[in-house]
Assembly symmetry: C2
Homo-oligomer: 96 residues x 2
């Protein structure tokens, strides 16, 4: 099943429900930054996100520097944000 990009209206509505996430400047991705006690805690969180990513078959673009993690969600095959990103963001929020 093709994954479609959210319309501007859908995007606005989705972002309103994801207050911790920021729309990337180009409007094609959402970003959230996390800060933990130390690397051990950051890695624990990343491990849980990795399992989510496999479950959702939707993988983040992410980076880690010691206790900081930044996650970017976008849907390449949709050329921007899709419902898959919204679902993944909500699942990540439920962990954090």
């Amino acid at each position: 099943m093709a994954v479609e990009q959210l319309t501007a209206d859908e995007r606005e509505k989705a972002l309103a429900a994801l207050p911790e996430w920021t729309l990337r400047e180009d409007g094609l991705a959402i970003i959230r930054a996390f800060k933990f006690r130390d690397f051990n805690a950051a890695w624990g969180f990343m491990s849980r996100v990795a399992l989510l990513a496999e479950t959702h078959d939707h993988h983040p673009e992410w980076s880690n520097v010691y206790n900081r993690v930044e996650i970017t969600l976008t849907t390449h095959e949709a050329g921007g944000l899709s419902l898959r990103d919204v679902a993944m963001a909500k699942a990540i929020d439920a962990l954090a």
Copy 2:
């Protein structure tokens, strides 16, 4: 014990022994990019590097996009490359 930045000579010698790593443009870090079969394989590798990082008490700056991992090593308290980066790079090479 204070961690000292490598001298230019030491850096050159270290890089010669780490052919897979590239010196960052500013000369303060080394970078290596890895590509795996899929996210599962990339994550497996990252998990092993995470354990190394805790063992060495030296943590990478790294990013992951699906099957790709990019690792940057630098020593903040030395203001650039130190022997800790060289040791960590060798340990990572031994995994890859």
